[in-house]
């Protein structure tokens, strides 16, 4: 092989061509013969009883094929949406798990709740018919904010859960933490909100379903990050379709970010209805509907305290968080603000005692679930804001307070006081590198320069660790997961030596078609253009758990490496026979099986040829062919970590925040394709910057109406909001994945909100500001500056 296409090569992406020429195949692009079009009628009320749904006039309209409501689902005994992760209360009792019908039956619990499904010959006809449905609602008082929901006398989202509490979860050691606070020389405190976000992948969710009556078989094309899980959850738990009668295809998917890793009601109803009407049915969400029906992210209200000794050493951490679950439990909802949050609160520090209490609360809002980072950005934001507050109060340099509390590289593996055990890392190296690359020490000069232009400049630092590579099944099952979260890969070597890989993860932008080919290229020494990566079709790929939690490379890539090793092992046996040598004498190097210490060898192609041609093949002891599958369940999470530094300039006259520089130093283990990794970091950071400065999902607190349900109202980061980011990777090796990879999909989003807000607070610190809630919009900053000025004037 002349050109290295293996590990470490920034080769260009194999998947690009179809996207840059408009030949991508997204669900909305799919057309089937005789296909009908469908829309949902959604609730305009946050909380209401449904008194009556009158579909008579609508059904009579031209082109209408059928209109279904929750009552039709109930009549067909269609099950509710299952929650795949149950958490326990602190007293050991299980969380409250109210049933969730795919369409509202007698009550709606958030604006956007589906109440009817309208199928017509054309989309226009379906929309007209939906407008003609008459629904009589009895509007009830709504609860929106988490603190309002747990106030005595608040309206109950579910009639039998009067306190709106789903769970009261805890982790860590309350007694040891209380003792640590007794010995503290200083206690730093913070109260903060982690604002609600909408993931907004650019491709709206969609589904096309087709029932083949001749075979009694269903196919559904869907915008999913995990088609096999949709198949299991929907087939097995909801529609009662046997697994061999159901095919789920997630073709090209236009971004996921967690939003597309849940089983959605729309997938269920479209599939069910395709059989009812005997025609393929297509449904495509509109963007504003997406705001009202895609699971949301974050939405915490927290209080935290950090106990320190007189030198600034962390002694203990107490956290109390109230987390919004929304109007129903989404697929992984309860896991996000608990296990993926509380277990990360040690951060990169040696804090010996931690206690975290989380109350999960039902409200009349869209369900909340995983969104890029999922729990870990919330943990990092809280911890890193609190560390900055402590540093300011104790007048310790913000880098120094982190340095003196950091886990040293020599302390790995490191057991935290909150269950997880970090296998590898070097947070100090990341910190020092970030300080160097960002010219931390030269900040005073840049601040003076900004001041000369009338601007307030701030610098923000954040260190983080995350747990990804989901997931070690034994560990997550002990934490409430209701299934294993392993991965599988099949390596199919064709007669010619070309390779098709079938893998259970899903590529929706991450570059898997390139990165996974590089793994095979590295192992087999064949160029990546001879390797095809297949994913997203349950009829082609045997099984898999999909893509989320930065798991694809760490878990799927390791399964792929193991499957490739099985190919090499079989090839070794065949080569030993062909070369009349002992199996132990054969080495596979540079694409050839050679007898060690001799010049006798067989190429990979010759060995594969023998496996299919069966000439000079040990048929008595080996099966013909060349294909291998491996399943891999990791022994631990992976723990990427790093240090990010940002600088902002604030215009005091209008409150606008300009992000002027961003440096990210991340330890993500071995890097397979540096170009793709940098892209993942850029995008992840931009999403965190979005939360810090722009994005906010806002509900009217009384009516429960969403006030930010379009791109006109929900501010997505744009090209002129972002600086050029500087990405540096350091690598300590994960001890249990192939090649030592850790995962990089979420690290940018985990580190950036705290980094940016720390910079904003730093810029305003001369006004006595110790915290700014997200997003730091111009109006919020202007008010802070001008209220401070007024207070100063009043004091004078």
């Amino acid at each position: 092989m002349n050109v290295h296409t293996g590990i470490g090569a920034s080769i260009l992406r194999k998947e690009d061509r179809r996207f840059i020429t408009g030949k991508g195949n997204y669900v909305a692009d799919i057309k089937r013969p005789d296909m009908a079009m469908a829309v949902f009628l959604r609730s305009p009320h946050a909380h209401a009883v449904i008194r009556k749904i009158d579909i008579k006039a609508a059904t009579a309209l031209p082109g209408v094929v059928a209109i279904y409501t929750g009552a039709d689902l109930a009549a067909d005994k269609i099950g509710g949406l299952p929650c795949a992760w149950g958490v326990s209360n602190a007293d050991g009792t299980p969380m409250k798990e109210p049933p969730r019908s795919a369409m509202a039956v007698d009550k709606v619990r958030c604006v956007g709740d589906a109440v009817a499904f309208v199928i017509a010959d054309t989309l226009e006809q379906a929309r007209e018919a939906a407008d003609a449905i008459e629904v009589e609602y009895g509007v009830l008082p709504a609860v929106v904010g988490v603190l309002d929901a747990i106030r005595p006398g608040a309206a109950a989202v579910f009639d039998d859960i009067l306190d709106n509490t789903c769970f009261d979860w805890e982790c860590g050691d309350a007694k040891a933490t209380a003792a640590a606070f007794k010995n503290a020389a200083h206690v730093a405190k913070i109260s903060l909100v982690n604002n609600r976000l909408v993931g907004n992948p650019m491709e709206p969710r969609a589904a096309v379903a087709e029932y083949d009556a001749g075979r009694d078989h269903y196919t559904m094309w869907t915008t999913s990050q995990f088609p096999h899980v949709v198949k299991v959850l929907m087939g097995n738990f909801v529609l009662n379709i046997p697994q061999h009668k159901l095919r789920i295809v997630a073709p090209d998917v236009g971004g996921g970010f967690g939003v597309k890793q849940f089983l959605y009601a729309e997938e269920i109803i479209t599939t069910w209805a395709s059989r009812k009407v005997g025609r393929p049915v297509k449904w495509v969400n509109e963007r504003s509907e997406g705001f009202l029906s895609d699971a949301h992210g974050r939405d915490h209200v927290s209080e935290a305290e950090l106990a320190l000794d007189e030198t600034g050493k962390f002694l203990g951490l107490k956290v109390r968080t109230v987390a919004n679950m929304g109007g129903y439990l989404s697929t992984f909802g309860p896991n996000i603000p608990t296990n993926l949050y509380g277990l990360l609160l040690a951060g990169v520090y040696t804090t010996p005692a931690i206690h975290c209490e989380v109350k999960g609360v039902f409200t009349n809002t869209v369900p909340v679930d995983a969104y890029r980072g999922a729990g870990r950005p919330e943990a990092t934001f809280l911890l890193e804001r609190l560390v900055d507050v402590a540093a300011s109060e104790m007048k310790i340099d913000k880098a120094e307070i982190r340095r003196m509390n950091m886990i040293d590289a020599s302390q790995y593996p490191y057991q935290t006081p909150v269950i997880v055990k970090y296998d590898s890392g070097d947070p100090k190296a990341c910190l020092e590198k970030a300080l160097e690359v960002s010219d931390w020490n030269g900040f005073a000069g840049r601040k003076a320069d900004s001041k000369s232009r009338g601007k307030l400049r701030g610098i923000g630092l954040c260190t983080y660790v995350e747990a990804c590579g989901l997931a070690p099944s034994r560990i997550v099952q002990s934490l409430g997961a209701r299934a294993g979260i392993f991965e599988s890969a099949t390596v199919r070597v064709h007669v010619t030596g070309d390779v098709t890989v079938l893998i259970g993860t899903h590529n929706h932008g991450q570059g898997h078609e390139t990165t996974f080919a590089q793994i095979v290229s590295e192992k087999l020494s064949i160029p990546t253009d001879k390797i095809e990566i297949v994913f997203g079709d349950t009829d082609r790929v045997q099984f898999g758990l999909g893509t989320y939690g930065s798991r694809s490379l760490a878990v799927g890539g390791t399964a792929l490496a193991k499957a490739t090793d099985k190919i090499i092992a079989k090839g070794t046996k065949i080569a030993a026979h062909m070369l009349e040598a002992g199996e132990g004498d054969i080495v596979f190097e540079n694409g050839s099986f050679a007898v060690q210490g001799t010049d006798r060898s067989k190429s990979f192609g010759e060995v594969v040829g023998a496996a299919y041609g069966l000439v000079n093949f040990p048929i008595d002891v080996l099966e013909p062919g060349m294909e291998a599958q491996a399943f891999y369940d990791p022994v631990n999470f992976t723990y990427p970590g790093g240090a990010h530094i940002a600088e902002v300039e604030i215009d005091p006259d209008c409150g606008s925040v300009d992000l002027v520089s961003y440096v990210a130093v991340d330890d993500i283990g071995t890097v397979i394709n540096p170009m793709i990794v940098a892209g993942q970091l850029h995008g992840g950071i931009a999403q965190g910057v979005g939360q810090a400065l722009f994005e906010n999902c806002v509900y009217d607190e009384t009516s429960g109406q969403m006030l930010s349900a379009s791109f006109m109202d929900y501010c997505m980061p744009r090209a002129d909001n972002m600086p050029n980011m500087e990405i540096v990777t350091l690598s300590t090796l994960c001890t249990h994945t192939s090649f030592g990879v850790k995962g990089c999909g979420e690290v940018g989003t985990i580190g950036s909100p705290a980094t940016v807000i720390n910079a904003v607070v730093d810029a305003l610190s001369h006004l006595g500001v110790s915290h700014v809630d997200m997003p730091a919009t111009p109006s919020r900053i202007w008010r802070i500056i001008h209220n401070s000025a007024n207070q100063l004037r009043a004091a004078e």
Binding site: D16, I20, E124, V253, G254, R287, G509, Q687, F711
Partner: protein, 160 residues
Amino acid sequence: MNIEMTVNGKKVKADTSPALLLSDFLRENLNLTGTHVGCDTSQCGACVVHIDGLSMKSCTLLALSVDGKSVTTIEGLAKGANADLHPMQLAFHHNHGLQCGFCTPGMIMSAVDFAKQTPNPTESDVRHWLEGNICRCTGYQNIVASVLAGAAAMRTQAGG
């Protein structure tokens, strides 16, 4: 209503509803699904096509309003017998200017028009122009690099 236009160099005639959007006409009637619809409010730019050479958001144009005009979609950008990629398409590939690919056709169509109007742009020019195109994957860094590289390649191609 009868409409007639040139799409990617071919004459197209159709009898359509007066309410039909250009994006739907391209996607549904002509099967040109490279033009994407990512929002309902003309904000995201996934639907950008060229009308008589100028970039426009096809999700907020009626098909009727481009009667008699010439439309180029992402599918019509690669030219020649070998469907040689346009320099801007190549620039997005070479600079990793795309991830999930959904915003990409609109980005490229918008960028081509931009580079024609601004042959020698600065980074700031590019970032300002791209305000009308949202990408959720890339943080824009490599898109900006792609547009700068694509503009330079178009300049060279034009003999500039």
